[in-house]
């Protein structure tokens, strides 16, 4: 297991240099069967990460570039009249793939966003009155630009909640950046990447995640974290039960990535900022604050014992 993960991380690391932590988090998200949201400024490597993930995991993959004139049918698919057989034939859209890369999801209208988000929540789509199941596993990796940028339709809280994790990539450190500049364009290396897993292996890993043990005292700790976000005036509203469940699931996946069969508080602390960050909003004087800092504050305040 450890070997598999290390190879995955190393492979992706060749195209996304110096972001091991984020790569591991993204893998944890996928192992925990969650959809991933990558948020950062343009040009930080969001799309590169998404593409690299799709390739090494060996999933059927498609990409949609979201624009303001994209329609739901462009994602879900449309029925076209076949004159020879004189019937309507359904042409599945890009959503019928195991991994869908939704690039710049907040550039499109809420109507189109919600078409995708329904698919993410239900694992199926309804087109022209007919419900069609999506392939398994089904992942969405969405990227978005920071909300403050122009030409964006920010995702509402309820839809942000559909993403298990939101990660930020950030600027590379100087050494990585020098390495990046001195070598060939990593994007060219993408096409050479070979799948390291097949869908069956991935499903197996996902099942193993569920077997990771979360002891009573760990659940207590998680509950205290959630309670703290609910009690403190710092947040507009506390973490929902779905939020706590998501944290636990990610912590399990994280423990598995560390090749451990039980969760320790450090696992929770590792995934908590990415899982809870987009679900919590600062209130009052904290409303403008970076939610990452607020979440760190929670982790610092709640004792693990």
């Amino acid at each position: 297991m450890q070997k598999v993960v290390d190879r995955l991380v190393a492979d992706i690391g060749t195209v996304l240099i110096g972001k091991e932590e984020q790569i591991r988090l993204a893998l944890a998200c996928l192992f925990a069967r969650g959809h991933l949201l990558i948020e950062d400024l343009p040009g930080m490597g969001k799309t590169t990460l998404a593409q690299a993930l799709a390739r090494v995991l060996g999933l059927s993959y498609n990409r949609i570039q979201f624009t303001s004139d994209l329609l739901p049918a462009d994602i879900l698919g449309v029925s076209v009249y076949d004159r020879e057989r004189s019937l309507f034939e359904f042409h599945p859209g890009p959503v019928f793939n195991q991994l869908l890369l939704a690039d710049e999801i907040n550039r499109t209208t809420p109507k189109t966003q919600s078409a995708l988000l329904e698919a993410m929540a239900e694992g199926q789509v309804t087109v022209e009155g007919e419900t069609r199941p999506l392939p398994t596993p089904f992942f969405v990796i969405a990227t978005q630009n920071p909300v403050s940028q122009s030409g964006t339709y920010p995702l509402p809280e309820s839809q942000l909640d559909r993403f298990l994790m939101r990660i930020e990539l950030g600027y590379p450190d100087p050494a990585s950046e020098r390495l990046l500049l001195s070598g060939t364009d990593p994007r060219l290396r993408l096409v050479d990447m070979k799948p390291l897993l097949n869908p069956d292996q991935l499903l197996k890993i996902q099942q193993q995640v569920n077997l990771v043990k979360a002891s009573e005292s760990l659940v207590d700790y998680l509950q205290r974290l959630a309670q703290y976000t609910r009690d403190e005036a710092v947040f507009q509203s506390g973490l929902s039960p779905r939020g706590t469940l998501a944290t636990l699931q990610c912590a399990r996946a994280w423990a598995l990535i560390q090749a451990r069969q039980y969760v320790i508080p450090e696992d929770v602390q590792a995934v908590f900022p990415t899982v809870a960050g987009h679900r919590l909003r600062g209130a009052g004087e904290f409303s403008g604050h970076d939610s990452g800092l607020l979440v760190q504050r929670v982790l610092n305040a709640v004792d693990i014992l």
């Binding site: 039980y262 508080p265 004792d303």
Partner: protein, 668 residues
């Protein structure tokens, strides 16, 4: 955020509730219209609270004030005394509640509430009212907390929870103050209202008085004996001697001096000029009495008593007297010699005149009868036997005798022939005096209920009147005419005799005594009774015990010792509370595995490596290892052991961690 000056809604809610509770406590002592006005004030305030009505304007407030002051003047006339002052204070409290608009007003109302609530203790000190008072304090505290905290999440009950924890912390301090604080005599005396009719034996006796007492189950006093309780028939609790007969009513003699010595002999006093008149024989009975407040001076004891408590005197007619009116419960010790004879040597002239007196022009038929029978009788004894025989043969003992006119003894003896103890005692003494035998009426209680805990309860319906006659060579002899009419009254108890009569306990409709034939109610009643007795003995009676308790605790009572004891114990109590506050942060770590980790943290802290609150075991040990590379291996193994036991589901064995911890300590 609400403005600073505004009264928070949570505070207002509890303030209103506290107001209602405090006023309810005083409902008995307040004029009806004040109560009605309070209800109006509360309703008005609730309507303001709901936003339905507005706060009263200036002119309305002025009018209300004028009306209330006028009402109080009309009600009481002169404003001196406890009740008018209480009514004034409550009115002010009510008006302030109605008027308050800023938080500072609300604080004033809270202070008023504390004060008015504390005033209850002037009227009633029973356990129930003390408990209720504590409840009121809790509500007022909740109001104060609500006012301070403003409207915070956590619901309306939150201030109450805080108040409960505050009160619980204050209770130990209260106990310390109660035990150690010296009782300072009153700096001023408050006139306690005595005009309120209080049931009990009074210093005059007219036909019908004692049957009135039969209507009440109120407690008169409790007695605990050193040893077994004597049989029912000897339990005559002498309280008053009524010698002065006015034709219808028996009264005490209003003599301020006698020709043969002082009237009173105080406990501890050496002057015993007339003590030799009493011949005490055999072993005395020792007992202690806790008497309910009567606002009177006299105390009750068995014949013939000798006081054993300070402030109690033996009177010239062999009963006990207190040094001040009984405005609260009081405890006193007595010794009694049941076997005794008094004034065998003869009566003084004064005394004889008093005990033979009767008014001219009353009860002519009885006078004739007495003289006729005495002439025929061979001795005083024979005459007495004949009179008692008359009572025994023809008379009926009842709680509801017919009313009697001017010649009450005549009417009773020759016509109605029905009566309660006072009829028998009064007419018996009158007959004796008419025949030239000195006699007098004794008033007090007879018998009592035996509590399973070994003490005796005497209630108002045990009130009784009997007689004493003076015989040549025998001295004063106690005779109870009622015993010859209704011996079961003396041998048994009033309950069984009168229980079926209409009017018995009529004034105590809710008294549990009524239901004593139902087993569990009776048990409950006796349990509550025992609780109240101990309350009276140990809490209310503590004032009298305090000096001896303090002497035993401190060796010697001095201002300095008391001050040091107060500061010491008070400080200790505060320290305990502080500890209690501090412990919860460690209490949650009762888990032995966690404790080992905490010990590790303490060990590392001494070496300057402090764990941050949110830092996990692994993160902390790794950080510590980077600072102390020589311990890295030990720390890592500790961490692994801890994690696998705490999170990995391995059987927890803190001994393993303990070993590793020991190794770590050695590594230093």
């Amino acid at each position: 955020m609400i403005p600073v000056w505004q009264i928070s809604r949570q505070g207002l809610f509890w303030l209103l509730l506290a107001f209602v509770a405090v006023i309810m406590m005083h409902a008995d002592h307040l004029p009806r219209w004040v109560l009605a006005a309070s209800v109006v004030a509360v309703v008005w305030r609730i309507q303001c609270y709901r936003g339905a009505w507005s706060v009263p304007g200036r002119w309305l407030k002025m009018t209300l004030l004028a009306v209330c002051v006028g009402g109080l003047l009309l009600e009481y006339g002169q404003p001196i005394g406890l009740e008018p002052m209480l009514a004034l204070l409550v009115t002010a409290y009510m008006l302030k509640l109605l008027e308050m608009s800023h938080r500072r007003d609300a604080y004033l109302v809270v202070l008023l509430a504390f004060f008015v609530a504390a005033l209850t203790a002037l009227f009633d000190q029973s356990m129930v009212s003390a408990g209720y008072l504590l409840g009121c304090l809790l509500l007022v505290l909740a109001a104060l907390v609500g006012l301070h905290h403003g409207d915070q999440p956590g619901g309306t009950l939150r201030p109450l929870k805080v108040a409960i924890s505050l009160l619980c912390q204050a209770l130990p301090l209260m106990v310390v103050l109660f035990l150690l604080m010296p009782r300072i005599g009153a700096l001023w005396s408050v006139p306690i209202p005595t005009h309120k009719a209080k049931t009990g034996v009074t210093d005059s006796m007219s036909p019908g008085d004692f049957s009135q007492l039969g209507r009440s189950a109120e407690l008169a006093f409790r007695v605990s004996f050193d040893g077994p309780i004597p049989p029912q028939r000897v339990l005559y609790w002498r309280g008053l001697v009524l010698s002065d007969f006015g034709g219808r009513t028996w009264k005490r003699t209003r003599r301020t001096s006698m020709d043969d010595g002082a009237l009173l002999q105080w406990y501890g006093q050496s002057d015993k000029s007339w003590d030799q008149l009493i011949d005490r024989r055999g072993q005395p009975l020792n007992y202690s009495v806790v008497i309910e407040p009567t606002q009177q001076l006299w105390l009750y004891a068995l014949d013939t008593p000798l006081p054993r408590s300070r402030g109690v005197a033996l009177t010239r007619d062999y009963r006990l007297l207190a040094n001040q009116p009984l405005s609260s419960k009081r405890q006193y010790q007595v010794q009694s010699w049941l076997d005794h004879s008094i004034e065998v040597g003869g009566l003084s002239r004064d005394r004889r005149a008093i005990e033979l007196q009767w008014p001219e022009g009353y009860n002519p038929r009885t006078l004739d009868l007495a003289r006729e029978w005495r002439d025929k009788a061979s001795s005083d004894r024979a005459f007495i036997q004949r009179v008692l025989g008359l009572f025994n043969s023809e008379f009926i003992y009842t709680l509801q005798p017919p009313l009697l006119g001017q010649h009450s003894v005549d009417e009773f003896l020759f016509e109605s022939k029905q009566g309660f103890c006072e009829h028998f005692a009064g007419s018996f003494v009158f007959l004796m005096r008419a025949a030239g035998i000195p006699a007098r009426v004794l008033a007090g209680y007879q018998g009592g209920e035996r509590h399973p805990d070994g003490y005796l309860l005497v209630r108002q319906y045990d009130a009784h009147a009997w007689t004493e006659v003076w015989l040549e060579n025998e001295g004063w002899v106690s005779i109870d005419p009622t015993a010859s009419v209704a011996p079961e009254r003396i041998e048994g108890d009033v309950q069984s005799l009168l229980g079926s009569e209409e009017g018995f306990l009529a004034d105590s409709p809710a008294s549990l005594v009524r239901f004593r034939h139902i087993g569990w109610i009776n048990r409950l009643r006796l349990e509550m009774e025992a609780l109240n007795y101990h309350w009276a003995l140990w809490v209310l009676g503590y004032d009298q015990m305090q000096s001896s308790v303090l002497t035993r605790l401190l060796g010697k009572i001095s201002v300095w010792r008391i001050a040091i004891a107060l500061l010491g114990t008070g400080g200790a109590v505060l320290l305990l509370i502080a500890l209690w506050q501090w412990i919860p942060s460690r209490r949650s770590t009762t888990n032995p595995i966690d404790r080992q980790f905490i010990l590790l943290c303490e060990h590392l802290e001494k070496q300057g490596i402090e764990r941050k609150p949110g830092e996990g075991v692994r993160a902390f040990t790794q950080r510590a290892a980077s600072l102390r590379p020589e311990m890295a291996e030990l720390l890592r193994s500790f961490c692994e052991q801890f994690e696998s036991m705490r999170y990995g589901g391995e059987t927890p064995q803190d001994i393993l961690l303990e070993e590793k911890l020991r190794a770590l300590r050695r590594a230093k």
